[in-house]
Amino acid sequence: MIEFNGVTKSFGKRTILDSVSLKVEEKQILAILGPSGIGKTTVLRMAAGTVKPDAGQVRSDRQRIGFIFQEPRLLPWRTALGNVTLVLQGRGLTRDEQVGRAGAILKRLGLQGFEHYYPAHLSGGMRQRVAIARAFVLDPDLALLDEPFTGLDIGLKLSLQQMLLELLAWHPCAMIYVTHEPQDAVLLADRAIVLEGKPGKIMASMDFDRPRGERDQSYIQEQAAKLTAVLTAKKSPVGG
Amino acid sequence: MNASTGSRIKPFYILGVACILIAWELVAVRMTGALPRLRAVGESLLLLAETSELGQQLAISLHRSLTGLTIGAALGFFTGAAAGFCKPVYYLLKPLIGILLSSPAVVVVMLAMVWFGVGSSMAIFITALFTMPIMYVSVVEGMELIDADLLEMAAVYRLSRWTLWWSIYLPALATAILTGFAFAAGTAFRKTVMAELLGSNDGIGFAMAMTRFNLDAARLFAWVAVCLVVAGVLEFVLVSPVARYLQRWRTVSSDAGVVHE
């Protein structure tokens, strides 16, 4: 479980987040939506513990955190396998165990045969798959995703999302998923919140009750439309 | 850039200076004969100043390095500009510049001593010879940086030669000259001192060589201190203002000033 309690954060004179409270239960997936620069990434960093709030608390009992960034952020001088074993260092595993686990998850993500390729020799989609493998090789109890599919073309994005869904079915974990696409949120999340304003506050939240496996195209369209309405409503009062 | 380049007083910088001085004193006291005490160095420096030897030798060395620098920088500028405008010249000069950049200055000094004998003209020759490539490289690189797009734009709009010179070539060249000159200036003094040390009857380098014969370490370090002051003044009035000026519009590698020998 991870919980934000009245969290406020400023950088210099600019207040980014203002008394944000949220809670993610075990194996629950929370999507955060909102315009860019609103502090979504800051929420993730606080959840990861690399940024401390100015006021309020972040309470977390999560031990193993997997993080997927918008860019793959792989070490260019390490192979795919080397990038995955990197995060297994210092966790009391032998070299063989590390390689075994990393190889298994790369295989699961369809990268068998590419273990010894350097990132520069992999395609963009493959690199992001290595990044996903790196996040899930730890058996994370909390996965943090920062717009991981932005900038990829639509086909690639759909296939990566499918892989992510399969990974989650295989290894369910709590997750915070930052995105600006309502469809993405409906596809993956149990709950979505909307950050809005300066400084950012939680302006709306929405639950998706239907189990993930049973969400068909029409459900996704319908819920995404609702979510879009919520997102645009915030901007409309001025314009009428 | 980073926090440590601000102009506030830095306690650890002062600590660094203190460490050097304390380590010096410790070595000087413990290993007698190896290093003179700082006090002795100070006294030597005072003595040099009082006997006006300091002024005389400094004037001689400064005069030589300035003359050498002027000749070398001018040569470097003209050859560099010629090479920048006309590629054949660049390739014609390439072997010469390559040899100059890879030859240890001591070797060239040996030859120059044969050519010019011992004295001023040799030191000036060496200084000019080793400041020239610095200016040359700086000007050639500066001209290479002139944006091909800008030149195309100028051609499309049929800018006059005058405008072309005034608004495209000159600003680029001015920067190159400034950088080249700032770095060449630091090199010039060091080369002069080296040339004097190996083959001259006067100047700071000669005075340093004499301390070796007289085994007068305190005096050697007094002269080293003089060199450091000269370098510091150069840095203060020339190199760092230029670097600061350049930083306004492009990042300049701070390594450039360090490559010396």
């Binding site: 990197l86 790196r134 | 490559v259």
Partner: protein, 258 residues
């Protein structure tokens, strides 16, 4: 301007050869005018260079100096990297080292060589130490800049995954720094050759190019001095070439293939 750009692509080799020929001709003329005692002719120089490579003492001097150069270069890289990483991480360390580094940069190298004689006496180790000290600021400064420009995204990644500090250092900082340091290392190779020979001449160490040069000077063997200069220029080119080759084939295997 357009013609010029076109010509730029086709010309280099032709002009480089022309340049070398013109340089040799000019040199030959100088030698004619000033006589063999002042300027050796290209032919004499070449002959002398060949003789150097067939005379055991000269070969011994060359390999001695080359060994010292490689040792000094290796030490420089290690010291530059170690201290550069430290100073890159902690600005106060940089402040602490700044006075010493400024002195090393500002002091005339010959004066430092004299300093070494005074304090530590003459000898092989002292010569190498002087070359290391004088070359150090280049790699140190490069390493400090390199550490500070390591990709922030990668660093954040290492932090959120709680990668142990030692692994962070070895897996991320050292490769990233070494990689940005490559141009400086190439520069340092040429610099070290020059510094080391300077130190050999000033400190007057046994066996080495420095001593061979001093002797050639005493004997007024101009051709031999010229030959050594040629050999040194070639050596610098060779070291740079070998390093570039090693770097391209091994170190940069991870870069995109062309």
């Amino acid at each position: 301007m357009n013609n010029w750009l076109k010509a730029k692509k086709a010309m280099p080799l032709v002009w480089m050869i022309t340049g070398t020929v013109a340089f040799t001709l000019a040199w030959q003329m100088m030698a004619r005018v000033y006589g063999p005692l002042l300027v050796a002719t290209p032919a004499e120089t070449l002959e002398s260079a060949v003789r150097l490579f067939t005379s055991p003492p000269a070969v011994a001097a060359f390999s001695r100096t080359l060994g010292r150069v490689l040792l000094a270069l290796g030490l420089q890289i290690m010291a530059g990297l170690a201290f550069g990483l430290l100073a890159g991480f902690y600005p106060w360390v940089e402040d602490l080292f700044k006075p010493a580094v400024s002195i090393l940069v500002a002091v005339p190298p010959v004066a430092l060589a004299l300093f070494v004689i005074f304090v530590f006496g003459g000898g092989e180790r002292q010569v190498v130490a002087a070359a290391v000290a004088l070359g150090f600021p280049l790699l140190y400064g490069g390493a400090v800049t390199a550490v500070r420009s390591v990709d922030r995204g990668l660093l954040e990644m290492l932090r959120v995954f709680r990668v142990p500090k030692a692994t962070q250092l070895l897996a991320a900082y050292v490769p990233a720094t070494l990689y940005s340091l490559l141009p400086s290392i190439l520069l340092a190779a040429g610099l070290t050759v020059r510094l080391l020979i300077m130190a050999e001449v000033i400190v007057g160490v046994d066996r080495g190019i420095g001593q061979a040069l001093s002797q050639a000077r005493v004997h007024m063997a101009t051709a031999e001095i010229f030959a050594w200069m040629l050999v040194m220029a070639a050596t610098v080119l060779l070291i740079e070439g070998v390093m570039l080759y090693l770097v391209k084939s091994h170190v940069l295997a991870w870069q995109a293939r062309r």
